[in-house]
Amino acid sequence: MTTRTGIEVSIAVADAVRLANADVIAAYPITPQTHIVEHLAELVANGELDAEYIPVESEHSAMSACLGSAAAGARTFTATSSQGLALMNEVLYVASGMRLPVIMAVANRALSAPLSIWADHSDMMSVRDTGWIQIVVENGQQAVDNIICAFRIAEDRRVLLPVMVHLDGFNLTHVIEPIVFPEQSDVDRFLPKSKYPLPLNPDRPVAMGSFAPPIIYTETKWAQEINIRNSKDVIISCWDEFGRTFGRQYHAVEKYHNDGAGVILMTMGSTGETASVAIDELRADGENIGQVRLRMWRPFPFEELRNAVNDAEVLIILDRAISYGGPGGPVASEVKSAFYNQVKKPKIVSFVGALGGRDITVSGFKNLIKRGIDIARTGSKNEYEIYGVRE
């Protein structure tokens, strides 16, 4: 029997880390991540999670302590948001470059200035090229499930890469949702103890983090690229096994009424569920419209995306971040490049919206789709349009 518990998503994320039996948590508080790390501190203080909690003095040190912890072979978790993620930036590259399986929940939030504590994807886009696996969720259940999966993916000998699980700040972190928690025994079976191949250990000295002269740097980076590409199959098979074990199945690209749809709306993150309601209503009115939701941001699932969009004529993409002076939203840019060399491809329309916590309602999505179809038909003078802005 599965029981649904009404619980705040941040608390549920912390409980997922407890179920994963993390050894070390190093974290620095930042809104809207705070409830995750507060609850973890509480779990450790009450002895419900046997872990070391390092209350570091900055996010830079949070991620640095995670490097040390993961290098010593411990199961390591942290969480952050926005400015915190930006402050960690240089450390993130080290985690992936040194193949250290750190898990991080990112409560997506806009970057300053102006200061905004509310959700968008500017923080996660700023770390796109750090070499981390980036998984994006749309609701609390997905957050819990993917935190558990993230440990298994990161620690897999074939992967050994750090993983971020992105959940939109406030829209997800601070809402109460009905969540099904997996049984501890099932999680233990699904997630075996971490066995980092060459940890820091005086019995078997290793040198980690030597500097690479030009003769080896390219090879190191290429190995890393091959590795994150290959991680896609491991992630997908992890989700498949998760589905078999727990009955909830995840995909790199989630599809919703996409088969045979002439127009497809593409979203990433918490806006996806609101958009689905709009899709339902439009379909009820007889519109041939579907939706795809991007779950896997890095590695980017080129093939899965092309398959999901297959025969659509129009693909409308909503981004929650701006690449200033650039070609459009970061997701749209990626999708365009995925289709550029294809013979058959949809017209791709790029929107940016829902910045700094601004909502797009169901009727908002309907308007956005309508405008998207117009642009596909008649074109736009801009590379992309920003939705709902007052000019």
């Binding site: 040190s61 490097l67 040390g68 040198a207």
Partner: protein
């Protein structure tokens, strides 16, 4: 200290933890200090190394001088990395994962990585009370990048970013007092040392690592390349730094200050300054200014160490104060 010199070397282990063949400059005081420091320790050590000279000259892939498990990640975060390793060992041991007993974490960094860019991470790690030792190998400037001034560069020293000019006499500020900053964290052990007094250095490092909780050792390491001084007299230069009072040797154990050397009289700072190219331009007036400042600081230190040093002297007469090297 000198009286041990005959037989103490026999007590020092032969095995190198920091092997030769690395790429340090000729006469590198830091390489010597690192070698000595780790000779004072057993094999139960994990080293976290900040970016800097030592990381570069001993860690080019695929070579390493380290016979110990060693990790380098970034410049400013070494204390944080060390705290992560310490926490990981604590948690994993508690959870029954088989790990070697009594593993100790030693973080090493230069003066820039310690007193400038890494100060926040160090302060955090000291304040949280992790069981680790932090050793700062201080060569008084950013030597790895070509001798730029740091907050540990002494007043008057010419570096590439505190150059001598029509309107400048070199470094414009006084050396940041890192050991005092470490002491202000109320940690159980703080010490200053230098390769010029090798057995003192080794004893202090051994003591620091044996201390439960955070320990900080500040090691003056002569850099003939950056200081523009002879490469064959680095130990003499280091000893002069101590004998002139420019770099006093002392320990702070649980808040009790203790001078490591009984110097009846300080030598004039000029003896130290005149052998180094970085100070060559200093006028007698500036040297006098340095002299006064050094004496003032030294007196303040003696005052703090008044009680501690007396106790230590009494103990050493009874034989209880000796520390094996």
């Amino acid at each position: 200290m000198e009286k041990y010199a005959v037989y103490v070397p026999r007590l020092v282990q032969k095995r190198e933890k920091f092997a030769p063949g690395h790429r340090a400059c000729i006469g590198c005081g830091e390489a010597l200090a690192i070698r000595l420091a780790f000779k004072a320790l057993d094999n139960n050590i994990i080293v976290a190394n900040a970016t800097g000279c030592a990381e570069i000259f001993a860690g080019q892939f695929p070579n390493t001088s380290w016979q110990l498990p060693w990790i380098h990640t970034l410049f400013e975060n070494t204390a944080a990395v060390a705290s992560g390793i310490e926490a990981a060992y604590k948690a994993m041991k508690r959870k029954g994962i088989k790990l070697p007993d009594n593993t100790k974490i030693v973080a090493i960094a230069g003066d820039g990585g310690t007193s400038d860019i890494g100060l926040q991470a160090l302060s955090g790690a000291l304040e949280r009370g992790h069981d680790f030792t932090y050793i700062c190998f201080d060569n008084e400037a950013y030597m790895n990048t070509g001798n730029q001034r740091s907050s540990a560069t002494p007043f008057g020293a010419a570096t590439t970013t505190s150059p001598l000019g029509k309107k400048s006499t070199g470094q414009f500020s006084w050396k940041k007092n890192m050991p005092e900053i470490a002491t202000a964290h109320n940690i159980p052990y703080v010490a200053t040392a230098t390769h010029g007094f090798p057995f003192d250095l080794m004893a202090k490092v051994a003591k620091a690592v044996a201390t439960k909780g955070p320990a900080y050792v500040h090691v003056l390491s002569v850099c003939p390349t950056g200081w523009r001084s002879p490469t064959d007299t680095i130990n003499r230069q280091a000893r002069l730094a101590v004998q002139t009072g420019m770099f006093p040797l002392y320990e702070v154990e649980n808040g009790i200050y203790k001078m490591s050397l009984d110097l009846p009289k300080l030598r004039p700072v000029k003896d130290y300054l005149k052998i180094q190219g970085r100070f060559r331009h200093l006028s007698d007036a500036v040297i006098q200014q340095i002299q006064e400042r050094v004496e003032l600081e030294y007196q303040k230190l003696l005052e703090k160490a008044k009680d501690g040093s007396k106790t230590a002297k009494r103990k050493s007469r009874t034989g209880a104060g000796k520390v094996p090297a």
